[in-house]
Symmetry: C2
Subunit: 457 residues, 2 copies
């Protein structure tokens, strides 16, 4: 099809939407390392994991063999309410940059959670409902994941207990209220409802909380309350599996118009969006069918890929979760206080970590003032006000498009626009007023956290 | 096509998007009354209007004859960035209500302005650019219109001066910051930059402003600064013309699947969304080709259709604008302090006023606690967190669907979901905490404002 037929936005028909998720692990020669029991350092069994997670999700977590896993009809019906998401040709951005590159972005922000998180939230809620559970628990920082899970639980009439980092609970009341609209209970963490919360409050009076602490509280509540399980919005293999819907739709939309991507770019915090976006492309690469340049973009203030180590580490600060082998900065690492937005997790998806370690993808880190510059530039020509997280990918997409301008290459660049920044206006205001700063951790700081990695035999 | 083929969301192809706006005035037997010069009470001439508005927009404002006006390619290109908007079949809401009615909504919230306002903003910015102007001025309350105009001006590289009601500027900083991302200057109104602002500040020290005052400031700045014109986001004939894109897309999407609507429902403040949504359906009705039940929904706290009078009145509090014949509560009317969200204008589009007066549409008023109940019910099953304004239409759509449940009628109901409520969480929080109240103005209050209507010969 000739290029002038390519619409601004490619929407798949409902009949073209994926009916199965793609499990990239099936095509990986080097499988991601298994989760380990933190006490015994032995691989977590399904039985052990089922104390924390739903049975079906445990099966997905451990499944390194099946390339396709059917998406249940109930989930597909929910997907139809906000999917397919558009693959947008950034004609206006291309013109502004005067680049010969062709830029596309897969936009996941057109739903009330404001991001791609809903893709996995609805799946996790579905399996919890299917298992006859009463509800689920989770943690949330800024609130994107918590919002997505609230929406999903509301749809399936499940109880949803969200532990929200206290400082966010107080400073970002709007996300908190959105969750309440969907019927979730939202508790500032650390709370006095859990043992770990009481302990942390006693040891650190007046603490404003952290993601790691909220995870520990949510896990404790799930394990102690019959009929509850814990759910997590990133990092896990199952989450990347659900998020493969992003990449599958992207690939189908490109294929529909005969477009071959040269480069896939995504922001990376825990890796859920990036892992989902790249999965079918990585699959082709692993099977030797096609080649793509794949770039993970992370904040310079939280550089797990670019400056972390590939090692077993705890997934949470409270050290109650299994050990995962991943690129990590150490489970006590928290980005500096001036870091805005998400992408603040200390580790990275074990699947992506293995792929990165095998040289199948690259990673770059960017500073946040440069990220917000790109965000503003993008908003002004493409209309959408992007989330700070997504803007990491925008930054590198623009940089790559500008390289093409120098070299004259007509590369086709696809990046993931994971969400909108409507609840991030405090950060935008800081940027706008010139009050935003950058911070790159020193080698000494990183070494301090790294020294606390668990000792493995 | 059989009904089970109707997708959750109907998206038109780009090639099916409207190439011309539809001007319902061309089909009206009783034309809307002309704007009058407030001094002479004579119809405003094009020349007089061109001191305030762009020439092309004045022509559109005065055009009661041409049924179709071509949408310039530049505007169509911008529309392609966020349009077509989906026409969504509310399968989940239908199931929740257990109604035989078929419910569709046209969702205009999938753009950063969060509402349909962008449809007219981009048109008004385009004509300003075409005329070689430096910029435009406007007022904004909660900020939806100001955001839309900022986005449009950013796209065409026009200066954008927004006068924002002071209380909103201070209490709703996020919308203000979104406008700044798009490069607009945002001034709290009343300011000390204009004569009218200084006068109001002197007469009412500490005033937190009003929409009427902000309009007066914006008009003053437009008239006094060479190269600037004033733009308005609702009420005017030109705005309804631009917003006809909503109705044209809706009609095309219904026709594509052979669906015949029985009832069209929209919220009404100044009338821009409702007027746009209903226009092609009203056209068929006016030409005797089809019949539809058309319902305007307004807040009980600002009931211009249901309790106002059809008379000439000022469009602004400062009485600097032309007189318009419309259903009005009187230009000093301001909804009670407990009123949340928009739909707070004292008057109503002259086009809609004439259609309503001719018995071609109905109007109902609803109380806001009932509106928020509907909003929450909708959000929990359909996913989208609706704007308070849009939720007025949801309330009546649900009520009508429940009537169908009683009668067994399988009516096809279409309503306008004008936008999202992401910046309205303070109101949602009040509702959630049981702190939201209703207020219906007394007859005595309304009579007091009505007594101040301008005396016409």
């Amino acid at each position: 099809m000739s290029e002038n037929k390519i619409p601004y936005k490619i929407y798949l028909e409902e009949s073209e939407m994926p009916k199965a998720w793609y499990n990239v692990r099936a095509d990986m020669k080097n499988k991601p390392a298994p989760l380990l029991n933190p006490g015994t350092h032995q691989p977590m069994t399904a039985e052990e994991l089922e104390g924390v997670f739903c049975a079906d999700l445990v099966a997905q977590e451990l499944d390194n063999e099946n390339a396709y896993i059917e998406i249940p009809q109930e989930i597909r019906d929910f997907y139809k309410m906000y999917r397919p998401s558009p693959l947008v040709r950034a004609y206006c951005l291309e013109e502004k940059l005067q680049t010969p590159a062709k830029i596309y972005y897969k936009f996941e922000g057109n739903n009330t959670s404001g991001s791609h998180k809903l893709n996995s939230a609805i799946a996790q809620a579905y399996y919890a409902k299917k298992q006859g559970l009463k509800g689920v628990t989770t943690e949330t920082g800024a609130g994107q994941w918590g919002t997505a899970l609230s929406m999903a639980c509301s749809y399936f009439d499940l109880d949803c207990k969200v532990y929200m980092v206290k400082v966010s609970y107080e400073q970002k009341p709007f996300r908190r209220e959105v969750m309440k609209v969907y019927g979730a209970s939202v508790t500032p963490s650390p709370s006095m409802e859990t043992e770990i919360g009481k302990k942390i409050n006693a040891e650190h009076p007046g603490t404003t909380g952290s993601l790691g602490c909220a995870i520990s509280e949510a896990v404790e509540v799930a394990v102690k309350n019959p009929g509850y399980r814990y759910v997590l919005g990133s990092v896990l293999n199952q989450v990347l599996l659900h998020q493969s819907v992003i990449g599958l739709e992207t690939k189908a939309a490109l294929d529909k118009y005969g477009i071959k991507a040269d480069m896939i770019i995504g922001c990376a915090g825990g890796g859920s969006n990036l892992g989902g976006l790249i999965s079918p492309f990585m699959g082709e690469k692993l099977r030797g069918e096609a080649d793509y340049e794949i770039i993970a973009v992370e904040p310079a203030s939280c550089p797990s890929f670019t400056r972390g180590v590939y090692a077993y580490d705890f997934c949470d600060t409270g050290m109650v979760c299994p050990l995962a082998k991943m690129y990590t900065l150490g489970c006590d690492f928290i980005p500096s206080a001036n870091h805005a937005g998400g992408l603040r997790y200390h580790g990275m998806s074990p699947v992506l970590s293995q792929l990165y370690d095998d040289g199948l993808m690259k990673a770059v880190s960017v500073e946040q003032t440069k990220v917000f510059e790109a965000a503003e530039q993008f908003a002004r020509v493409e209309g959408i006000l992007p989330a700070p997280e997504s803007s990491h990918a925008i930054r590198v997409a623009i940089d790559e498009a500008l390289k093409c301008k120098e070299t004259g290459e007509e590369k086709t660049i696809v990046f993931g626009l994971t969400g909108t920044g409507y609840f991030d206006m405090v950060a935008y205001e800081k940027f706008h007023n010139g009050e935003m700063t950058d911070y790159i951790p020193t080698d000494e700081e990183l070494a301090k956290y790294r020294a606390k990695l668990p000792k493995m035999d």
